[in-house]
């Protein structure tokens, strides 16, 4: 491919709208007759509604109606509904009221006489594992097929407990040697690895849970017109959310018009919209008026999802040269009210970054009565990198080996096989990223900072390697060249702030020889036609949709050349495309794309989309039919294929200064270098890299959930009590770079970037803190100043070793 556009900074076409206030997010729409819904949230972590008397509320002037749990879809087992009469976390929506103003709706909520029966609850997964401990559900604390059940048997609840003997070990600060795991895998011989190790590092580590808190809360608005649902949803993924809401509300997806042009961030919490999006959809059908459900920051804390916390034990064995030979990892995951499964990825990534020949992974994820968990940028991976990289630093201290050298020795190469299934990767340039980062950071020059004390300041440097999945295959591309001569790239992917909705169109422009001002992106409104797309999650989008758009553009280019040959003679292979024209190689006759589009419409058939390829997804067909006859259509499935998983790596380097008088950590400098294949759009890549790394710093330093253990209600429910990084918390001195080696299995060569920077930011920081503390690992995130100060002053930690939800 000619690289006219790829690798250059282009102007995102939505930027003017974003900076003039014209960009409309879900809360910015005002259809005629719109009313406001307000939710009643559960005041307790687990309870049952005994009675509701809404007569006072419904009698209020301006109140329209009430929506109860029995009017919305309910599912069996620990599965979330948008309203429930048995809430399983504080803040779970119980019912909703619609009124002509939000104020009246809120006043009406307060006028509802509701009686709750309090039920037993549990916040800490270790407490529900204890013999006799409480369970999150009245029916049990685990849900799934019972051990020994036949394939096809329904999932059931059971009460899963560890033994007194297990807790003797746990309470004694040791890994429970025989505790039953729900998921488990191993390779090699872990016992032999530790028997032969020169150094064994063993720790209990806690990673606290933290909310996503995207800037835009998950506000949604909906109305019905002519039997169609018009849903304005704050969502990461547009096309996939259309199907999600159709399924949730129980209607044909083609009866949904999904409008989501802008999304104020999601970070994994709005992958296919969110559960509350059902409320305005169902309520507006009931009262036949548009319903706006504005979610406040307070409500967002509860219904807005969180990264699950881990309580873990890890044992790592090393040879004297620094090579890790064995990893024994046990993760207890806090699943929240509706479960989570970050631990599996965490285990695989631990295997990937330390490449031990021997590994044992064990995990349980327990239901608890805390707000629901969801993928949060680098789910599982970010936690484990942040938790284990400090152990590598500690081992380096004990072995007297430079931490960068430790990192290099244990980093994976291209032939790595990892995880329970021995997964392989399409491309691995982790070592190149580490080398490039070390140079940019001047690791060699900064080694003298390690553990240095000047006045009250302790310095440390740290390095982390953070990989994450970054691609998928087999999606569709859909685009059309209209008689105005422009290429319209139809994107089913969402505009969630990553710029991928724009950047993935670049390869299409490149294939067709177009300049950027000859390309229009069509996005954010399903009535305009969207192809089958991936969810905007797991950093798949850039990889998946550069491929899909490459395929569709290649289809368009073939058709353009055929039209040129038919019109001007010669064979299709004689023609080249450039600057919006097709012309005979070596000079001679040509056609503008405007003429080609006219010609395609006259020819019909596959040229203008009246005949579609057989292998495209059934979801693409109705979208292509909307556009048929309007120009020359490029439509294709990504059939490029490939073998192995697609992973991006980020190497993070941090220099910190700890103030021994206050325990405050000042991040002086940070460098992030990524192996994400071909760089499509440098400026948006840099922004993603920094943004993810800084989110990781927040995760490592300040953000966490805190609950009152007696009543099960949250304390850290707002920005100021679980503060995400602000301008004054981040280093002004940051650098980034990309290795820039194309992934060989994609025609474009690009891999995703969203997830892995989070672990790199967090892990470099936690490792640098170990370095500043002379090799002591505090084994907890976030590392708030009180924890660090207690360590520096030789006082007992303010928290128990395995305490979750504290702060």
């Amino acid at each position: 491919m000619a690289d006219k556009l790829i690798g250059t900074d282009i102007a995102p076409p939505d930027l003017v709208a974003k900076i003039t206030g014209r960009a409309l997010y879900a809360e910015d729409f005002r259809p005629d007759g719109m009313v406001f819904a307000k939710m009643l949230l559960s005041p307790m972590p687990h309870c049952r509604v005994r009675s509701v008397d809404a007569s006072r509320a419904l009698a209020m002037e301006g109140v329209i109606d009430i929506l109860r749990a029995d009017e919305v879809p309910q599912r069996e087992g620990p599965r979330e509904s948008c309203l429930t009469d048995e809430p399983h976390y504080e803040g779970e929506p119980v019912l909703a009221i619609a009124a002509v103003t939000e104020e009246i709706a809120a006043a009406a909520i307060e006028a509802i006489d509701i009686d709750f029966e309090p039920l037993p609850f549990v916040l800490d997964p270790l407490e529900t594992l204890r013999p006799g401990g409480p369970t999150a559900y009245s029916e049990g604390n685990l849900f799934g097929r019972a051990p020994g059940a036949e394939q096809g048997d329904p999932a059931t609840f059971r009460d899963f407990k560890w033994t007194e003997a297990d807790f003797v070990e746990i309470d004694g600060g040791r890994m429970p040697s025989n505790a039953e795991a729900v998921s488990e895998w191993s390779k090699g011989d872990i016992d032999a690895a530790f028997a032969g190790a020169d150094l064994i590092v063993e720790e209990a580590i806690v990673h606290q849970s933290l909310t996503h808190h995207p800037m835009e809360p998950r506000t949604n608005m909906a109305y019905w017109e002519n039997g169609k649902l018009y849903a304005h949803v704050s969502t990461q993924s547009t096309q996939r959310t259309k199907f999600a809401i159709a399924g949730a509300v129980g209607i044909d997806p083609e009866d949904v018009v999904m409008i989501a042009e802008y999304c104020g961030g999601g970070f994994g919490s709005k992958i296919s919209g969110s559960t509350p999006m059902q409320i305005p959809a169902i309520f507006s059908r009931k009262i036949n008026r548009p319903v706006m459900l504005r979610i406040t920051r307070y409500e967002e804390n509860y219904v807005g999802r969180a990264r699950p916390g881990f309580q873990s034990w890890v044992r790592m064995g090393f040879q004297s040269d620094g090579k890790c030979t064995g990893v024994d990892l046990f993760i207890v995951e806090e699943g929240g009210a509706y479960g989570s499964g970050d631990n599996g990825t965490a285990g695989a990534i631990a295997d990937l970054i330390y490449t031990p020949e021997n590994m044992r992974f064990r995990a349980v994820s327990m239901y608890t009565n805390t707000p629901p968990k969801a993928a949060q940028r680098g789910p599982g991976g970010a936690q484990i990198v942040s938790m284990l990289e400090p152990l590598l630093a500690k081992a380096g201290h004990q072995l007297g080996i430079d931490r960068l050298e430790m990192r290099m020795i244990n980093a994976p190469g291209p032939d790595v096989e990892f995880g329970p299934r021995g997964s392989t990767l399409t491309s691995v340039h982790a070592k190149e990223a580490l080398e490039q980062g070390a140079e940019l950071f001047d690791w060699a020059g900064k080694r003298e900072l390690s553990g240095r004390r000047e006045g009250s300041k302790l310095s440390g440097i740290g390095v982390a390697l953070s990989p994450y999945t970054a691609g998928s295959r087999g999606r569709d591309g859909l685009m059309i060249i209209r008689p105005d001569g422009k290429l319209y790239v139809h994107q089913g992917i969402g505009n969630l702030g990553t710029h991928s909705v724009v950047d993935t169109a670049l390869p299409a422009a490149e294939v067709l020889g177009l300049n950027w001002d000859q390309v229009e992106i069509v996005w954010g409104d399903s009535s305009r036609g969207m192809p089958y797309s991936t969810v905007q999650a797991g950093s798949q989008t850039t990889h998946a949709h550069t491929r899909a758009n490459h395929a569709a553009a290649t289809d368009a280019a073939r058709k353009i050349r055929q039209i040129a040959a038919q019109s001007l003679g010669g064979s299709p292979g004689d023609y080249e495309l450039d600057n919006g024209r097709v012309f005979r190689r070596g000079g001679g006759a040509g056609l503008s794309f405007a003429q080609v589009a006219e010609r395609a419409i006259q020819m019909g058939g596959e040229y203008d989309g009246h005949t579609l390829p057989e292998d495209i997804h059934r979801e693409t067909v109705p979208a292509a039919q909307i556009l048929a006859g309007e120009g020359l259509m490029g439509v294709a499935k990504d059939n490029y294929g490939g073998e192995g998983s697609v992973y991006t790596f980020v190497a993070g380097f941090a220099h910190v200064e700890i103030d021994s008088d206050t325990g405050v950590v000042d991040i002086k400098e940070f460098v992030g270098v990524t192996d994400c294949g071909t760089v499509i759009h440098p400026r948006s890549l840099g922004a993603q890299l920094y943004g993810g790394c800084i989110q990781g710093m927040g995760m490592a330093m300040t953000q966490r959930w805190v609950f009152d253990p007696q009543y099960g209600v949250g304390f850290a429910t707002r920005f100021y009590t679980a503060r995400p990084p602000g301008f004054l918390d981040v280093p002004l001195n940051m650098k980034w770079a990309a290795v820039g080696i194309a992934d060989p299995q994609s025609p474009v060569g690009a891999k995703g970037i969203g997830e892995p920077p989070v672990g790199a930011g967090a892990g470099a920081l936690t490792a640098a803190i170990v370095d500043a503390l002379g090799g002591t690992c505090l084994c907890r995130t976030p590392l708030t100043p009180d924890i660090i100060l207690a360590e520096l002053e030789g006082r007992e930690s303010p928290f128990g070793k395995l305490d979750q939800h504290v702060g």
Binding site: D9, A11, L15, V16, K18, I19, T20, G21, L24, Y25, E27, D28, R30, M34, V35, K38, P43, M60, E61, G62, V100, T101, E102, E103, I104, A106, I109, E110, P214, M215, E216, P217, Y262, G264, G265, R294, T296, R297, Y298, E299, L496, H499, R683, S684, G686, A687, Y690, G691, I694, G698, R718, Y720, P724, P725, G726, F727, L728, V730, L732, M734
Partner: protein, 210 residues
């Protein structure tokens, strides 16, 4: 945020304490709901008992606008739901994030943390008021952000841009440290701080050159 004079003026009439008391007294509906809003007049809305709307004149983006507001209504709510100026975003409802930042007499203030009644007789500027009304030309700050490709999800962008507008007037030659300080009342959850700072520095550069 804000210069001493402006803050002093405000505090004379509405101390932080009286502001909070007012909101608590009238929005007695608080606990589970956060801050509330009065809806569009077009809906024929009646407010809750005890809260009486009053017709006042506001100067917004250079125009006098007549609008009914509740005593406890915040400026951000009036702008968004009475005047349909939805560029001002609500990120937190209570002075934690800066997404609702607007200019009051040229000083950046949180729209969610001021009562609309406080800004009578003062000039309110929102993101919609930055472009040249005659030519549609973007403000220098907006031009700088466009050049540098600022912001990711951009939900925080209007608030940041208003803070940059205030910054270049107070300090047109900031260092990066000073610019970070000037913008530290605004939060970006995408954490695009580096690029935002570059936009701010470019905005100051453009401001110096005119």
């Amino acid at each position: 945020m804000g210069d001493a004079e402006s803050v002093g003026l405000m505090e004379k009439k509405y101390s932080r304490r009286s502001f909070i008391k007012g909101v608590i007294a009238v929005g007695a509906t608080a606990s589970s709901t956060g801050y509330l809003l009065g809806g569009p007049l077009a809906l024929g809305a009646q407010s809750i008992p005890g809260a009486t709307e009053r017709l006042i004149t506001l100067n917004v983006n250079g125009q006098d606008r007549r609008v009914d507001v509740l005593p406890n209504e915040t400026l951000a709510m009036t702008l968004r739901y009475r005047l349909n100026l939805t560029g001002t975003k609500l990120g937190c409802d209570r002075g934690e994030c800066g997404a609702c930042t607007v200019l009051i007499d040229g000083v950046n203030q949180y729209g969610c943390s001021m009562l609309t009644h406080q800004v009578r007789g003062r000039a309110v500027t929102t993101i919609e008021g930055l472009e040249n009304p005659d030519t549609g030309e973007l403000s220098l700050v907006q031009q700088a952000v466009l050049e540098e490709g600022g912001f990711q999800c951009a939900f925080c962008a209007p608030g940041f841009i208003m803070s940059m507008e205030a910054m270049i007037k107070v300090n047109p030659s900031p260092t990066r440290e000073e610019a970070a300080m000037a913008l530290s009342g605004n939060l970006c959850r995408c954490c695009d701080y580096d690029k935002i700072l570059t936009c701010a520095m470019r905005a100051a550069e453009l401001a110096r050159s005119v």
